[in-house]
Symmetry: C2
Subunit: 226 residues, 2 copies
């Protein structure tokens, strides 16, 4: 079997499991958001800032992927919400089966939002559907405004781009407008928020997006199929 | 054929071509250095700073990998050295066959150093030998000091870690000593240089490493096989 054929087989098997996950999320009114970025762009920090402002009775959980360590789960657990680490042991992305397996002992009906923090990688995670309602790509201002053009797949597939670490703008050669223009060249109409998790400026735009997304998701479900 | 078996087959085919490349580099006294990092850690900028200080008659060339664009080749060509872009068209790493193909119309005997700038990805490139004499991993101080523990394979396989963007240290929560300690936990004795391509502080340490590496490479070759 050629490499390409086998890759297609792996992907279609993944798609089958992802479709089943998506169905289960919909049945249980769980908005699932898949966060993707390079290593160190601030996925975990964005989740920390998010979890710390949520009411204590919010029905939110996190699956956080890493190749080797359990550092992220430790960082996120202190906010009191259910958090589980997925250690991929070398694999450069999360796949739908990993999500399915790690959800086994969680009741989906107890959740409103499930965050998935993918492995730090701007390339491979874009090929693996996890059953999420939306992918979100995070790009930090230290990475350069050309990245949407260079890693187009993930910017095309993500509903939202979070431009992170905006507090560093005075110290790095980064043109915000150009970055946003590049993202929208790849993905016309893409939603974008600018966030600093250090100063918390822009955090409310992210929370507002999340809120709107959850409302739209529930509304979409409520509509009768034409 | 299982996925794992097929991956092993692809890798052993890659290793065969890489071994042949390594032999050709050795026969022609070409030091080949494979630069690997996350997107936006500063591989291209480090190469720019390197090429701009080299004498105009230096026998240096660059192969620069990207998934989609030819931006890097354009940036690097203005220094007058041979530069070729390898566009992978979606693939998340360079492989030995891409290197072999792009070297076809270059004479190796005209070169002393060949830089390979890999695709921005801290995971997959670590599995693909390109025939290089040394891998170099670049970690920018904006990415967090935990990265060597989280992406251990590439830190283990790289001879040198370049800690880049050190000019941003006053503005980011990054502990240099801890980052270096983490790198050496994964790779005892790993060489490390600290570089800012903005202020150029530390650039001489990188150039010194390169020089030492080239001398050691030639000397190693000169030694009779025991």
């Amino acid at each position: 079997m050629s490499r390409v054929v086998l890759q297609q087989k792996v992907l279609s098997e993944n798609d089958r499991i992802a479709a089943h996950l998506r169905e289960r999320f919909q049945q249980n009114n769980v908005l699932c958001v898949n966060l993707i970025s390079s290593p160190g762009s601030g996925k975990t920090t964005l989740l920390e800032r998010t979890l710390e402002v949520l009411p204590h009775d919010a029905r939110v959980a996190v699956l956080t992927g890493d190749i080797q360590t359990e550092n992220d789960a430790a960082r996120l657990k202190r906010f009191g919400f259910p958090v589980k680490q997925i250690t991929t042991g070398g694999t450069c992305h999360l796949d739908a089966r990993m999500i399915e397996r790690h959800l086994e002992d969680w009741k989906l009906e107890d959740l409103d939002i499930l965050f998935i923090e993918n492995v730090g990688n701007l390339v491979c995670p874009s090929s693996y559907d996890l059953g999420e309602a939306a992918k979100v790509v995070i790009l930090s201002v230290t990475e350069g405004e050309d990245k949407p053009l260079r890693y187009p797949s993930i910017f095309f597939k993500s509903e939202l781009m979070v431009l992170s670490k905006t507090d560093l703008l005075p110290y790095v050669p980064f043109n915000l407008e150009e970055a946003e223009e590049n993202a929208r060249r790849v993905h016309p109409g893409m939603e974008i928020v600018r966030v600093s998790c250090q100063t918390r400026i822009g955090l409310s735009s992210w929370l507002k997006w999340l809120d709107g997304k959850r409302n739209a998701y529930l509304q979409l479900k409520a509509e009768p199929v034409a």
